[in-house]
Homo-oligomer: 358 residues x 2
């Protein structure tokens, strides 16, 4: 008995291609293990789309992967066409048992996701934007229980599943959540702990490609704040992004100007950060960039944590989350692993697709 689930995917960049590749290689094991066949009925990038209500053949999908790898749009691909409104694609391609996958980084998918859910489809998001806009949007998107978003926090590390399906589903009382959700800032704080200079570490991370093209997008903390907001809302809190206290690692006067000028100016911060690191170490603490949720409030920023704590022991770019609950007391429930990268993110997406398909 083979069950077929149709996929509509918004986004065909690095993560989107990794999802498609992973689905291709999973075809045989999923058929054997779950009696499940996944087939794309629509793929969209920012400019074009390929829609095939009968399902894209493996050959066609491989062709599209090659085509995109060469840097070309889906408009110009075999079967490609200029992209209409995403809602039209839902209307054209969405048949029974459809999962819509959103691996874009825009809030422009929200209306199409709502339409898909209203039609009874399921949805999987690696895209944080639709879930970090208005509280009304979050409620509407998640009300059906057919939308999953594991990859929005910690990539493939099962942070959301553990919060909602392990802790909330056991009616455990969650007292505090603390986590490190930025590999870039993990690299930075580990480097500071080892005695590195702040400006040199940011430059190294930038040159190694660990940061966004503009490192201020990492150092400002807004990406971590969005993850904290998703956790808070998953907890059932009614909270908006503006209500999260966010500590930026650079002062407001460096917010404008070129990346080069920004990197040069950072050396002026080295002494201040060194002092914070030394102060922390003097009491057996270290600095981590932490998202913390407690008593209805979420805060994101540099925190001094005990060296012996899970967050203090974390080294390098891995993500970590510690759930302090009535049951996990005094020691928290801890999850740790690679929390970024296209493969981890794509794995989280695929796991969500499977959970919704069985």
């Amino acid at each position: 008995m083979l069950r077929t689930v149709s996929l509509i995917q918004f986004g065909f960049g690095g993560v989107g291609r990794a999802v498609a590749s992973r689905i291709l290689t999973a075809a045989a094991p999923f058929k054997r293990r779950y009696g499940l066949r996944l087939r794309y009925v629509a793929l969209c990038d920012s400019r074009g789309a390929v829609v095939e209500p009968q399902g894209l053949s493996e050959d066609h999908l491989l062709h599209l992967l090659d085509h995109k790898r060469e840097g070309r749009s889906l408009i110009s691909a075999r079967g490609g066409r200029a992209r209409e409104n995403l809602t039209e694609i839902i209307e054209q391609a969405g048949v029974d048992e459809t999962v819509v996958i959103d691996v874009t980084a825009t809030d422009e998918t929200t209306a199409a996701l709502k339409l898909a859910l209203a039609r009874g489809h399921a949805a999987v998001l690696a895209n944080k934007k639709p879930l970090t806009g208005s509280m009304d949007d979050f409620r509407e998107l998640t009300a059906s229980g057919r939308l999953r978003y594991e990859s929005t926090v910690g990539a493939g590390v099962p942070v959301i599943a553990t919060l909602s399906e392990t802790l909330l589903a056991a009616n455990d009382a969650i007292q505090r959540i603390a986590g490190c959700f930025s590999g870039t800032l993990g690299f930075l704080t580990t480097g500071l702990q080892a005695g590195g200079a702040f400006s040199a570490l940011v430059r190294e991370a930038y040159e190694k490609g660990y940061t966004e093209p503009d490192p201020r997008d990492d150092l400002g903390g807004m990406d971590v704040a969005r993850k904290a907001l998703i956790l808070a809302r998953t907890l059932g809190w009614s909270l908006d992004l503006e209500q999260i206290e966010v500590e930026s690692l650079y002062p407001a006067e460096l917010a404008s100007g070129s990346v080069d000028a920004f990197l040069d100016a950072l050396s002026g911060l080295d002494d201040a950060y060194r002092e914070r690191v030394v102060a922390a170490l003097s009491r057996q603490h270290t600095l981590r960039y932490v998202a913390a949720l407690e008593d209805g409030a979420a805060r994101v920023g540099l925190q001094s944590v005990p060296l012996e704590s899970p967050l203090g022991q974390l080294q390098g770019t891995d993500n970590l989350i510690a759930f302090h609950t009535a049951i996990y007391d005094p020691n928290p429930l801890v999850l740790q692993g690679r929390g970024a990268g296209v493969h981890g993110t794509a794995a989280g997406v695929l796991a969500d697709v499977v959970r919704l398909s069985l």
Copy 2:
């Protein structure tokens, strides 16, 4: 729209009562959050049963909890009767949408579980025995996908969900699993690392109630071996308990005799263990009692692991599992938390009930 799911529970000892208490306090939040109502239609202990196809009232359930807390059997409880065959209870009480909960520690529930599943019911096990018997039994019990068993490994820590619904569902390639699944042996190895004598540590664990009534049941490693077997079978391996290599922490000649004589005789092992600890520390390693799965084989025993590794950093009685996979490389995906105790186990059971009920 309120959905009602009926529960039949085998076992009403410490864990069974914790499950029932947790279900009572979760009634209001589950109604609000999931539109879900859980009601007991049958409760069984080793001698008696209370069967109420219309559902036990909250008042009746509280009465039964009090009754059992006083050490009395369900035979003698309000509505109680001598226990028939468990399969008869399934036949009498099992209506639509029933979840059978097995929190016993016997393999005598297997036939009733099979019957329940064949009737379309779901099942949740904290009991390892039905899953660690024959491979045929394991296959028959798990084939439907309606049996969950999170609490059999690591209590409420989502070890099984992460393996099956995060890693296998993403078609990640699992290269190695290594974990510590015994709080008692964690206490022991942490104590050895700190310079404690083996015999004194076993006696302390025994006197503090960390061990089974006969500490040989912990030190022999068979409980950990059963957990390793459940992980191996969840991975899809066809393996039997006898095929697992198990290192016992005491020699065969101490297998018989009283507990007191056993505890006295352990001092003869102190020097040998101290030597192993010192040898490990000399190369920045420490000893942990590890279940390891790799290349189709499972081994359980004392291992020398790097102090800097997740297993080496683990202290005290917490459980830890490290999944080394294609995606989680070089650093594994790690879960850590309290892996024993009635509350963690009951939480894992309830989370499984909810997952099967939504």
